[in-house]
Each structure stands twice: as structure tokens, then as C-alpha cells.
Symmetry: D4
Subunit: 228 residues, 8 copies
Amino acid sequence: MYIIIVGAGDIGQPLIDIATRSGNEVVVIENDPERADRAAGEYDCLILEDDATDHNALQDAGIERADALISTTDRDATNIMVCLLAQEHAVPNIVSVVHDPEHMNVFRQIGVNTMENPQELIAEYLYRAVARPAIVDYMRIGEQAEVFEIEVTENAPIAEKTLIEAAEEDLLSEDVLIVAIEREGEDPPVTPRGNTRIEADDLLTVYSAFGAEPELTDVFGHPEDRIQ
Amino acid sequence: MYIIIVGAGDIGQPLIDIATRSGNEVVVIENDPERADRAAGEYDCLILEDDATDHNALQDAGIERADALISTTDRDATNIMVCLLAQEHAVPNIVSVVHDPEHMNVFRQIGVNTMENPQELIAEYLYRAVARPAIVDYMRIGEQAEVFEIEVTENAPIAEKTLIEAAEEDLLSEDVLIVAIEREGEDPPVTPRGNTRIEADDLLTVYSAFGAEPELTDVFGHPEDRIQ
Amino acid sequence: MYIIIVGAGDIGQPLIDIATRSGNEVVVIENDPERADRAAGEYDCLILEDDATDHNALQDAGIERADALISTTDRDATNIMVCLLAQEHAVPNIVSVVHDPEHMNVFRQIGVNTMENPQELIAEYLYRAVARPAIVDYMRIGEQAEVFEIEVTENAPIAEKTLIEAAEEDLLSEDVLIVAIEREGEDPPVTPRGNTRIEADDLLTVYSAFGAEPELTDVFGHPEDRIQ
Amino acid sequence: MYIIIVGAGDIGQPLIDIATRSGNEVVVIENDPERADRAAGEYDCLILEDDATDHNALQDAGIERADALISTTDRDATNIMVCLLAQEHAVPNIVSVVHDPEHMNVFRQIGVNTMENPQELIAEYLYRAVARPAIVDYMRIGEQAEVFEIEVTENAPIAEKTLIEAAEEDLLSEDVLIVAIEREGEDPPVTPRGNTRIEADDLLTVYSAFGAEPELTDVFGHPEDRIQ
Amino acid sequence: MYIIIVGAGDIGQPLIDIATRSGNEVVVIENDPERADRAAGEYDCLILEDDATDHNALQDAGIERADALISTTDRDATNIMVCLLAQEHAVPNIVSVVHDPEHMNVFRQIGVNTMENPQELIAEYLYRAVARPAIVDYMRIGEQAEVFEIEVTENAPIAEKTLIEAAEEDLLSEDVLIVAIEREGEDPPVTPRGNTRIEADDLLTVYSAFGAEPELTDVFGHPEDRIQ
Amino acid sequence: MYIIIVGAGDIGQPLIDIATRSGNEVVVIENDPERADRAAGEYDCLILEDDATDHNALQDAGIERADALISTTDRDATNIMVCLLAQEHAVPNIVSVVHDPEHMNVFRQIGVNTMENPQELIAEYLYRAVARPAIVDYMRIGEQAEVFEIEVTENAPIAEKTLIEAAEEDLLSEDVLIVAIEREGEDPPVTPRGNTRIEADDLLTVYSAFGAEPELTDVFGHPEDRIQ
Amino acid sequence: MYIIIVGAGDIGQPLIDIATRSGNEVVVIENDPERADRAAGEYDCLILEDDATDHNALQDAGIERADALISTTDRDATNIMVCLLAQEHAVPNIVSVVHDPEHMNVFRQIGVNTMENPQELIAEYLYRAVARPAIVDYMRIGEQAEVFEIEVTENAPIAEKTLIEAAEEDLLSEDVLIVAIEREGEDPPVTPRGNTRIEADDLLTVYSAFGAEPELTDVFGHPEDRIQ
Amino acid sequence: MYIIIVGAGDIGQPLIDIATRSGNEVVVIENDPERADRAAGEYDCLILEDDATDHNALQDAGIERADALISTTDRDATNIMVCLLAQEHAVPNIVSVVHDPEHMNVFRQIGVNTMENPQELIAEYLYRAVARPAIVDYMRIGEQAEVFEIEVTENAPIAEKTLIEAAEEDLLSEDVLIVAIEREGEDPPVTPRGNTRIEADDLLTVYSAFGAEPELTDVFGHPEDRIQ
């Protein structure tokens, strides 16, 4: 893909890194000379030190043939202007960071894909690390359901049991599904069957229709892992 | 919980928001007067305008009885000093943002939970939105495996088929598991059985031991969704 | 009318002045404390020191019941964000200054009335003052036609002639129309008839389908008034 | 003409543009290095990065043979000093922007042509766009009279009528004159006669001895176009 | 006198001091808050923190009844604008510092008394202190002539001689006049007669039609006092 | 002479000008890069961009063989340090500007010639220009006595009188001496004798043991020239 | 004592702390508002926010009755000016920090006690910590001799020997003197006699006429403690 | 030794000086371009202008083979991060300046040698110079004991006495030891015996188990040398 990335700041920099490493042709527009210089020294792509709300800058960046434009500046107003100009040039795929959640609607209205409130995403992860330290990673499904990774402790109720046994003992309800088991020496993760035995130190990927509730995390041996 | 949050910047702010809304007792230490003021006006918690590497500030924040401390400043050196001081006061749960991945080891060495490279997380999401627009959300499991959400298009090979039919037609290999189905009018998501029929517009939660490869996303009707 | 004016800078200030003196209810949003203070001291209206791209600021300004919003900041990106937010609230009349002519299209696309390139307007007037000093004021009609005010000198070919005489002597072609005559002691201006006699020192309002060309201005006695 | 332009700021820039495009020989004096650089890159003329109140700068700019000098800096004090120095060198045509209306007299006293309060001009236009949106452009003649452009709506009282009919029906008083009609496909604008028929979508240039009053604009189908 | 002093900087401050101590009514206009504050704390007069090129400031300062206005800012452009505004109000006595000697003419043209290049005056004094250290003070009369103060050394040719003897010995030519003799215990200075005897340590006020040339200063015992 | 000048600011610049034009060998030490550059471009002498309180800078400036050092920075503390270092190197002639009059004693104590309060000198001149506009220039002799230049007006009591007549009419007391007469066409100034006739427009150099009192200035036709 | 401390910076602050805790009456003069505020909040003494080179500030600080003045600002020029003013007021004891070693002589010349190059003192300590880590503290006596503190290791040659035995075995030459022995449980340190036995873990205060040479430190068991 | 010095500021600079002059191989890491430049010009060692908390900078500095690292920046947080990274690379000898005494424990915890509060050391010296001016230098031994240098005055009780006489007269108690005598013409210092005679102007190195108390300093002739 031919991707134009606007902004080489905190978010723009790792994005350039990913996009170039994935083999795309990348052009970056960054207004700040210092940031532009730094990016030019680090990434293997064209860096334009220019204002991306300026038509010429976009032209120089090859907007006519871009497959995608991602706007990552820390000003929503700049991002929206850039996105509107990209629409004028019919860029097929336009994505933007949005900092103020109240601006989400405006971006949606003009038809731009957005990533709302990136810092909130981080904040939620940090909070989780404190509030439910046993949950290694997680993903929300709809309102309540969740997929999450959790480690099995030595004395956990489920330790040394097969899934069938766990179900029989009502440790796992119907709303819960053990999706995958990461276990040392096994790659890819084990796909569990009814007679698969859960062991201590297993890192389980669990789906729960009602989220990672204390009753559930207790099963894996983390009674203390609750928001008090 | 009694939580001390250090830094009320881009990450600190939404974190304060989550932590207070979740019913915790929160104290914030922020050195910058402007940020401290803003936070004081917005969140219902104690804001100390002070340098968190200063012993007195931590004392004022009640470090002796804190259940957790989360350090979110944008300087790794400040974060590590804060974490070391928190350890001196035996705070049970210490988490820190780390900006330079090369510093991860140092934090680990002294036993602090970290969140590496938050901007990289965002960058990856943005890139995904451009590279594989059909993937709504995703979570990595180990090196290759992935859980992801994807919408079924009208003419998708899997549309209007039961899971058993899909398996019979080799649309879904053994390494793939349909974990949940979000469907309008259903809450919580449908837990799929063998005879559950996949419909267009279903939002599927899929586990794949080898990630969201093109061969797999094609099954849900997104042949164009590939990184070129 | 209930008018929200965004920006109390070089253009915003006289605008506030006009709008308040014309008996409208005016609310101003200005981010810069100094400018906000100055405006508050000078004009009889509500001044909000706030960022107009912030939803709350617009709410505070009464956007729900505004008849019009005029965005006058010196950043096009800010102006467009403000206009988009105003559209979300269905403000009936939205006008914006646009600084970069290349941005005109974007504003038009989203349906905002604009005033293109205000400084260019001034520049043109200044240039006119030097290039054609006899032209007091003027207005373009389409591509070429112009209405302009010009003073009749003592020895001008047209001086002391009636319009009929002037036409007979081919001083005024069919494409030229004397629209009004400002003459000392006459108010409103004299509406010329065929037998109205043009006098020296008359200030004529002239329409010319081909603009204020030298051949035409010569008729009013300004042979030197040409761009060399 | 040989023109010296002092200042390459917001007003100076479009002025340089007009003056060079009109085929004049232009020299610009701008003190600010950044602005001077920008201007040097964009316009085809000599740019001196210097203080125009410095004699040498004016000498370098060729003040001895200048036909005109236009001072456009945003400080009235600087403008007047420049104008006085230009007078010392007997520049035939000296024009200056004046920002503070109270300074107009001082400029007049020393015999400099001025453009008063350029921002006020813009403000008035913006206000008009909101207060009387149907008026596309306009020009004041003396105290009350006005020439203005207005579009005819489909159901306007004057639509589909000849000027004679309109006069007979008292739609147009004696103080009103239709000066020109811009109509798609016609260039230059149509010069109206008594039997010219006004059509919907015509853009009329109208002279009114008493300005664009609601009674008059109603005739063209804009009853709502009133300052409330 | 009622005096308006514009500027309370390096020159303005001692001027305020002199003017107030001499019993005048003084009003000061100073734009810089810090300087205005300092002046307000030190001098017994009204200090207006305002821009003196602003009409209202001058009005507030009582320009209508001022006997004199002295403009001391460090920008010639500001000084000239202030002087022009003062002329508009017919202030009888207007004086200004002028920093750039090339601007002298402009000030003269508009009829303002000026003090040219004050720093040059100081520089000359400093240079004199090094180049001719024996000369305590001096004043130029026309191109060459000078009045100067010089001390008589013990072994000076003129020491212990009457003026008549000095003239007879050709120590003093016709172009030289001993104007006054400051001598300890004598106040006012001694007015010399022909038989007045010059003594060592006398401080003489000398007039010389050809300046303080080495041949002359040698007479008072300063052979080394020469510019080499 | 070999002169080191410290500081190329407001006072330093004209001093460099005088010192170089008088044929001395001059070295300048100026810490500020911008000022150093400006001086280097304008004066024909060595400019060291350095801190003059640094030993090496003085060494580089050739302090060992300097005949004189003049310190003109705007900080008394810097000036005194420079002077002390110059004394260490036995510079024969050391002069310094002193800004705070209270510091005079300290400079005197260590044996440095000073020029007190240069701005006060200027202030006094400016004040004189307003308070006694007829006095063109003047010099104080001791406490009260003064030498001053004054122009004779047409109707002055002394006009058209010889000095003898003036003395006889008691216009000039014994404490007053006409030192020299500048008269158009005469150069050097006329040395007055008893029968020299004073004429209108003569510019007189006058010595008065009791200063330029109103009774005295009245004699030359300036009754209005009084401090009220 | 009544002590005036000039400067409340890095050095001034701990000095104020020591001086006030030792029961002196302390007045501090600090020009920087922030530092003055901080000091005022922390120390129990009068803090004047003022420029110490200003006579009034010194007067306000009670210079007339001060027993001592210590100047600690980071500018030597300021320190010397302050010291000179203190001398004018005959302060009995004047001490100053000196930053540039080349300025030492100037301070000495005017008779001020100085502390040369404080940062060098720290640097030397830091270097010692790296170069000879066994030396806990030390003090130079003249050029070569040193008093130093060193710990005795378990296997040190001198361990478990009396001083007489150590002398007999030539472990300690005549130029070395064990001055005191810090030993757990003993306070004050043990004054060693000939039959005092040195034990491992003793912290010895040693005098050596030739410094802490490797041959000597080896005796105490630190063969590795050498600068390589 | 191969030493890495972090920071080339007030403390870093003399440290670089000592370390290079002692023949070590030194590499300096300094983030500030100006300081890095200055150091590069003055010291004979490699200066890296880089952030020492950045892994690459340490690698470039050769951390793998460093014998020691000394961190001298003025931020404790930076110093601790640098020390932790140095530990990761197993640098054998790590020393750091610590500014906030409350941070001492954290450094100790992680096993870094520190130099506490360097400015306090200087402050103490300065205070001593004022409080006990006779004490030239001193070193604390434990809580109370001290070694100090003091000059013998002409009329001191101990002057012209042998040590035995001094002991007999109870001038020196058992807790006091004369360690060395610096005397003009003697190098190294005289090692005192019982019959060594103390002379005026001798500079004695004295050990006192109870410190330099007034009773003791009186013996050497400094009765006035007391903290009042």
C-alpha cells in the first residue's frame, strides 16, 4: 500500500515504524522541523517537513495515488482539515486519531474512520493492571462479554482438572468457554477439548458472556483479584 | 482501593476518570500547575500540585496506606524514581508507563509492573484500521494466534451456513474457533453450536491459531482485506 | 439576531463592534485571555474565554438557539472544525473567514459560506489606490464589468455636458451607464437623466460592462490614471 | 510602475502578488527574516530583509526612482515613519494602511493616502453575509445610497416581469435602478432596457438611493433577508 | 509647567526625577507594566500604563492643557507618532529623543525639537576621559572653538603667573580666554583680571577659539594629555 | 593609543565609532553574538565575542599592552569586575560607565575613573530643552556658575548695543562675561571687545557666576524662557 | 552573630539552613522571586527579595550592624560588587564563593575571604570515590601529607596487630600516624597507644606525610584500591 | 581506569578535569549541546552529546568495558535511571551525586555509592569561614571528633612551648593530639615529638576527640573565634 502518515509525534512515530516494516510505501508529513529530522534519521521513508493542511504538501506527498492516509496530529481541528482535503482527492481509506470524544460525531459525519481517545485505551489498560492484576490481556465483546487471558495458579480450583470435570463441578458455566491454552513448549497454543487437563501456570484465553467477574477469576486461583 | 496516580497528562487524565468512576479513592500528584488545575476542576478527587519524586508529596498523598500507585509521566526516569520511592513505602501494587522499550528491563529488574510503549499500541490499532479494515478489534495470543472480531458480508462464503456445514466445506480449519456471535437483538452474544447458522451482518469473535490470515478473512467475505 | 462570533482578533473585533451596534445579541468565544479581556472591556456582549472547538464552549455560548455563527480565527483548520460543530447544532447561518484560497473548496463542500482571502481584498484596494488613484471605490460584476466611483476633473471631456451630449460625442458607449451623481448639497445622490449635466467635482457612480479602462477614465479627466 | 512595498505580512503578501502580476517592478522591504524568506520564495521580485525606517534600506530599495510606496506593516508608528521618509525622497504616490482610526488625521495631515481600518472592511462584509445573506456584494454611495448584487428567487414578485411591468406595479420606485443583469450564458452582463424580462436566478446589480431596504429586497424574493 | 513624559526607561526615569524635583506637574505614559510600576513607586507624579500612540492615553494624560511633551522611547517611529499626535493637540513645546541620526531631518521637517543621538554624547565624554584625561568638562562652540575645564598642575608653565605675565610669555594667545577660576574656598569662581595669579590646583574654565589643542593644554601642565 | 572597549551596546557603539575614527587601535569585547556581529560589520577594528570578565578574553584582547580600557556594559557589577581585572594588568587608564549613583563610591575606592549616570545627563538636556528652550548648550562650573550659549532675539535689550553700552546700562553685571560670539560668516567665533556690537541672531557664549537666571536671559530677549 | 547571606540558590540554601540552625540571626537577600519565596517558606529568617548590589537592599538587610556577609551567587561579578559594598560598610567578616579560579586574585586583592571553586571540591570527592573507594574521607595537609579515614579489612596485614607490632614489622613507617580508631561501641573514637590492637572493621584515621599511597593502603587490606 | 562521566555541568566539568589529568580514559555523556561543546573544547576526552538514559548512548560510550560510571546531573531521577542502566551492564563501580537527601535511601537500596548533598558540603565550609575563621580546614571523625588545621598566633598560650610543657600546663588534654606541624621551610610537615616546640605562625593539624571547641582554639590564640 501507498500510505501517507500525517504527524510524526508520539503516535505517528511507532506508526511509521509498523507501516514501513510491513513493507508499505510510506510518506510522512510533519510540520515540526525537529520531529521531521528525527523521523528522517530513523525510518526508511520520505519525510516532508511541511504543513499537511497545505495543498502543495499533500500534492508533494503523492495524495493522488495514495491508498490510505492516517492523520495522527494532536489537534483534532488539524486532523479534520487534513481528512477533508484527503476526501477531495478521493483517498480510498482515511483514518484519524480523535482526541476529544465530543468530536467523534463530526468525523463520522464526514465519513472518516477514527480511533477515539487513544489515551483512554491506555488508561484502561493501566487501570486493569491495578484493579485486576491477574488479567494479562483482554478484549471487550459488545457490552458485557469479554475474552481475556489469565494464568492458572497452583492451588486454583480448576488446576489439574479436565474441562469436563470442571464443567461437572460447575466451575465453568455455559457462558464460559476456554478458547486456547498457552503452555510452555506448545506452539501454537493448545486447542482445548473436553478431556484436556488444565495445569498450573497455563495461560488460558477465556471467553465469558458476562465478563471477567470475580466468581470466574476465582476459579483460576485469583480470589484477591477484585476491584475493592 | 486507595490509588495514587502520578501525572495528570494525556494518559493520566482518562486514568483518573476511570479510577474515580470505578469508585476508588484517588489522589493525584501533578507537578504542572495548569494540568493540576484542570484535573482539579474535572475530577472528584484530591489533586496535589507537587513533584512526586519529593518525599513530602508522597507522604501528603497518603503513600503509607495506598493500595496501588500508577506512574504515568512522560519521563521514564521520573517514573522509575517514583516507583522506587513507592517500593520504599511498600505499596502493594505499583504500575508504570514505560516509553523507551530499552528501559523495560530496568523496571522489571526492580519489580515494577509496566505498560510498554503505549503509543505503539495505538499505532498498531491505526495501522490495522488501514491494513485490515474488516477487523474491528483483535487480541494477540502468544506469537501467532489471535482472537478477532469480524463482520460477515452478504455474499461471504460462510453466510447462511451452519458451523457444521462450514467445517464440512473446509471453510473453517481445526485451528479456527467461532467464539461468539454478536447479532442484533441478542444480548449477550450468541454462543455458537454446531448447528448455529451464520448470517450476514453477524459480528463474529473468531479464534485462529495462525492469526487473521487472508485465507481466513476471505471466508467472512473480505477478500480485499489484505495488506498489499 | 442571536449571533456567535468565534475569535476576537483583528477581524473579530470590528465585527463584534458592528454586530452589537446593529442591535443583535452577540456572544463571543475567544481562546486568548488577553484578547478576551480586551473585548470584554470594550463591547457590550458576553465574552467566553474558551476554545470554540470544545463542545461545552459552544453550549455555553447558546449554540442551540443561535441564528448565525461567524468564525474569524486565523487558522482555517480551527474555522472548519467550528463550522462543522455548528452544523451539528443546525445553526441556520454559518459564515467563515478562509485564509488559504486552496481551502475554499473544502468549506464549500461542507456547505459553509465563506469570505475568501480577506487580506487579498485589502491588498487589491491598496493597489488600486496606487495604480488608479482616481477610482475612489469600485465593485466587480462578473469577470469584467465594474461599478466604480470617480471624480470629474475641471477639464474633463465630459465636464459641463449632458448625458445626451456625452453619448452623441461618443464619450460614453452603450456599455457604460452613469448610475448616480454625488454632488455637494444633494442628498441622496442625483439620479441622472438624459439632460442631466455633468459638472466638475461631481463624484460619479459609473457602470461599465468592460471595467474601468483608461479610455473610459480619460473621459472623466484622469488621463494619467493608468497602470503603466 | 516602480513600487516599493513595505511589509510582507498578511496584507503585504497578496499585495505583492497583485502588484507583480500586474507587470510592475516591485521591491519589498520586510524586517522579519521568516516572512522575507517566504516572500522571496513565492514572488518574482526583489525582497530586502531590512528595517524600512532605516535610510539605507530605502536607498537600497531604490526610493529615488520609485513611483509609489505602500506601507502595510501592522504598526501605525512604523507606517508613518516610512511615509515621512518617503516624502523626504519625494515619492509621488504614498499609501499606507492605518490600523487605529484615531491616527487617520495624522496621516492626512502629512498628506499620505490611507486605507482606514482594513479589518473593519472585512468585518462589515462578514456581517452582511449573516445579516443580509441575499446580498452577494455591495458598495456604499455616500451616506445611504448603495449599489448591490442580489439573486432573484423563483417566486419573487419581480420574477418573469419586464422592468416596465415592475415599475407599473410599483415594485421598483424611481430611486431604484437595475444596472446590470448577470445571467448564465451572457457575458458581459445584460444591460437592461424597459422590456427586458427579469428571470429567476438572475443576479441583478441594483442601485438604490436609499440602500438595500427590506421593502426592496422583498421584491427580489428575500423576505427573510432582514436584520432582526 | 505641565509636562507629559512619554517613556519611563533609561532616559525617561532621570527625566521624571528632574522634572518633578523642579516643581513641575508631570504625567508619565509608559507602556511596559514593570517600568510603569517602578516609576509609580519612585516618583511623585501620575503614571499611566498605556500606549502613548493611543489617543485615549494622551487624553487621559491631559494633553489638552500640557505645556510640553517629551518623548523618550527607544523607537524613533513611536516618538514621531507621539509628536505628531501632540502637534494635533497643539502642545506648545514638543521635544523628542532621536536614535537614528538619519531620522533627524524627518523630526525637523515636522517641527519637533530633538536631541540627537544621546548615546553618542556619552560616548564622546568617555572617549575624552581616556584621550584627554586632564579635561574635566567641555563644551563645543561652533566647529572648532571650545570652552573647557582643566586643572593646573604644580609644575605647569602657567603656575604662579599672573594672566598678564602669561600673555607676555606667549603662554596664552589672543584666541584664548581664561573665563573663570575655581579655587578652594572661593565661591562663586574667581573672575580673573590681568593681575590675577594662576595657582597650582586651580580649576580653570578656558575658552579657546581653536579648541583644547596639545600646545594649549601643555601650558596648564598636561604634556602627556594628548591623543596619540 | 591602544584601547580596549568592553561592550558594544548603546553607548559602546558610538564610542567604537569615535575611537576608531580618531585613529586609535581599538579592540572590542562583547558577549552578545548579535551585537558583536553588528559591530564587526560596521567598525574597522577587532571584535571579540567573549565575556570580558574571563581572563582569556582580556588576554586575547591584548590587555598587557593596552593604554586604556573603557567598560560600557549596562551592569555595574560586570563593569567593576572588568575594571579590577584591568587593574591587575596595570592598564594605565581605566574608565567605566556607572549606572547606579550609589555605586560611584565603590568605583572611586578602587581608583577607576567613572562617568556617572549617563542617562541623567541626557535627561537634563531634554529637560533644559523644555524648561529653557533659548539655551542651546551649557556647562556647569562648580555649584552655580554656568557657561551657556544663547541666541539674541530681534528686540532683545542687548541687541544693537556694544558691550560697554550694555555694561553701562547694567544689562550685564560684573559676574557675567560674554566669552564668544558666533555670527554668520565669522569663523572662528568673534572674540568680543568692549566696543563689539551685539546683533540680533548672534549666538553668544556667556559665562555667569550665578547661572542662566531669568533676569539674565531676559537681556538676550527671552523673557518667556523660565521654568514656571 | 548577625549574618547577611546573599543568594538563596544551590549553595545559599543549605548555608541558610546551617546558619539559622546554629542560632545566628540571619538575613537573606535573593533577587529571584521564586527562590526568595521558597526560602521564606522553609527557613526561619528574614528574606529580602531584592538585588543585593542595590544599596537600599543592603541597608534594609541591616548591613550597618552585620557581623558577617557571605556572598553565594553564581556570578563572580555580582559577588565582588556585593563584597565591595560590604567593605564600604565595614562589615568585619566578608566571605564569597568564587567560580572562576582566575578571579581569585581580584577577590584577594580587595581583601575578601573566598572559597575557591566549590564544584571542584565535590568533583574531587566523587573522583576519590571511584579511584580509591576504600578512603572514606580525607583532608590534604600542605602539598603531599594527608589525613584520611580507612576501614581495616579482615585479612589486612595490620589486622589483629598492636601498633608496636605493626611498627616492628615495618607496616607503618615513621611518617605515618594512627590518629584515632572508630570502633563499634566506642564513642569518642579510641585514642591509640602502642599496645592498642587494630581489629578488622576498625575505621582508622590515619596521618601520612606522603599521602594515601598504595603501599600504605595495602597495609589496611585494600590492595585493589589504586588508580590504574 | 575507563570512566564514564554523565553530565558536564558545574560538578561534571571539574570532575572531567581531574579524571583526565589523572591519566584515565574518560568518556562524557552530556545532553545539552552548549555544555557538550564547551567540554569538547576544553578537555582531552570523548564527549557524546546524547541522553545518558538512552541505551544507545551508553553503548556508544563503551559501557561494556567501563571500570566506573559517575553520574553528576542535577536531577536525581536521571541519575538513578543512569545508575540502574549501568548496573544492567555490570559496571563495577557506580557513583552518583544525590541532591535530595530523602533520595539517599533509594540509591543505597539499589547499591549505588552516593555523594550526598554536595552543596551542603560547600555551605558548611562557607559557614565555618565565618563562624570559626581561624580553622583553615577540617574533617569530621564520627559524631564529635574532628581533625582541623589552625594557625598559632603570636601571643597564643601554646606559642613557644614544647608539647610536654603544653601538656603539663593542661593546655592540651589527653583527647587532643597535635598530628602535624606545617612550618615555613619544612616539607613534609614536621611530625611532632614531646620536645617539639610550637612556634607562632605554625599551621597545626590537630585531632580532638571533642571537636574544635572554643576552650581548645583559645590555646592556639583565637579567643575571638567562636560562634556567638
